[in-house]
Amino acid sequence: MSEIIFELKDVWFSYLGKFSALCGVDLTIAKGQKICVIGANGSGKSTLLHILDGLIFVDYGSVKFLGKELKEKSFGDENFSKDFRRSVGLVFQNPDVQLFCPTVKEDILFGPLQLGIDKLEIESRFEKLVRFLDIRHLLDRSPHQLSVGEKRKVAVTSTLIMNPDVLILDEPTDGLDPLTTRHIIDLLLEENENGKTIITSTHDLHIVQEISDCVYVFSQEKKIISSGSPDKILEDTKLLQDNNLIHIHRHKHDQTTHIHPHQHLEHHS
């Protein structure tokens, strides 16, 4: 059995003590796994990712990272905090939140500079990523001048440059054109092949099969209603329909009108 990275047991969380966001979540993530968390809007996916990144802390239950309980006071220990931030990187859902520096270059370098990574190492990672994602022309621009796709690419770069062992992505392909989506998926697959654990939250079912070994489905009751291989989950039309992940759709293929769940996986393969 691979090393367990995250272990969540009966996790409950609410905002301001009254708006429930997670209600009894159990989850285990092993090293090198590709995990996908799917669910409709407001089902608690982003909250879960923020808990995994040590940004918010559970009201009840336990979250363990490499066997160590993840609590707010753990981050008071500077060494633990730095090690954790080096190991776990989060790409936020809204790139405007993540890109807060005056220029793209400063934004990309912000993380490694805070973590005190060696300058030569930073330079080499920076060059590699800039070349791979083809963003050299954006470096001196301000994030507000970028398109949504460019912002997302830069947000992913600013997390990847920290070279985390666990990469958490909140709706990484939301609002992206197909080519940019492809670039980002390729990048994630390559990172996974290099041994990184990838945790993605999405409601874009087109990408689920590629970017996951295991899928967790969140219900509107803010808990995991089902989990399993992507094939098993994506074949369960009733489960997806009940949880607002697909809907009935009417359209044409070769002059024949189909009515089927809007899932596209079989019809557009």
């Binding site: 923020h50 990144d53 940004l55 500077e78 905090s81 730095k82 931030r85 080096r86 990187g89 989060l90 936020f92 809204n94 405007d96 939140v97 993540q98 890109l99 807060f100 520096c101 005056p102 220029t103 270059k105 400063e106 370098l109 912000f110 993380g111 500079l113 805070q114 973590l115 005190g116 001196d140 301000s142 994030p143 507000h144 600013s158 997390t159 920290m162």
Partner: protein
Amino acid sequence: MKKNNFIERSISGAVSFLKESIFADEYASKNGFLQSLDPRIKTLTFLMFIMAILFTKSIAILLCLYAACLVLALFSKINIGFFLKRTWIFIPLFSLFIAIPALFSIFTPGQTILTINIIGAKLIITRQGLSSASLFVTRVVTSVSFAVLLNVTTRHFELLRVLRIFKVPQIFVMTLGMCYRYIYLFLEIVENTYLAIKSRVGSRLHYKKGQEIVAWNISSLWQRSYYLNEAVYNAMLSRGYSGEPVLLNDFKIKSKDWAWLFSITLFFVIIILGGKII
């Protein structure tokens, strides 16, 4: 109807003015002389220019410095019409209103050069008054021109980073940078919210309703900025921020920068010594 337009004009006018004045990088990205200098050296030498302007008591030297400023603007591929417009907008604000009273004998007694009669009241312009008012106006014109030239030939983020050579705390520099970054986002939100309202209510809107909408907009913007503040802080924490930011410093000083610094320092020393001798 006019009152409606007033709200619309105010919002779109304020937004476009802010966008133009804060975010125009057009001249700073040109391949001119000042743009090619290291921003730290450039700021330092411009401070020397401004100090020289403050120390000198000679209008002739001030005019030479003003001419030098215009030449520098030309070599930096700045459109002179744009530059003059940008600088002279501020001049009446800063100087003319202050300088005009100094012309008259009430404030600056001395040798009469002109007497004006206004409804029986005698206003006397004195030579000393004229000389001190001209010195003041020329000084303001020249220093404002240098400040504007530095501003238009340097990108805002570079100017922010330059603050660090003056030992401004990193947290202050970073906060300023973030303000710059998010002002634009909020400007866009204001603009889009106004367009969204306009698309739903049409153009006929009672001005009182318009005022209500503006007030609601302000409170909604406040809430969004509060949310953003928390979210951005989390994004900083997530990338290892622990209270003391470490910021990028990739400036490189070339031999051209040293030569420029040396010449301006020499010039500054001459002006200071010359001023003492005179």
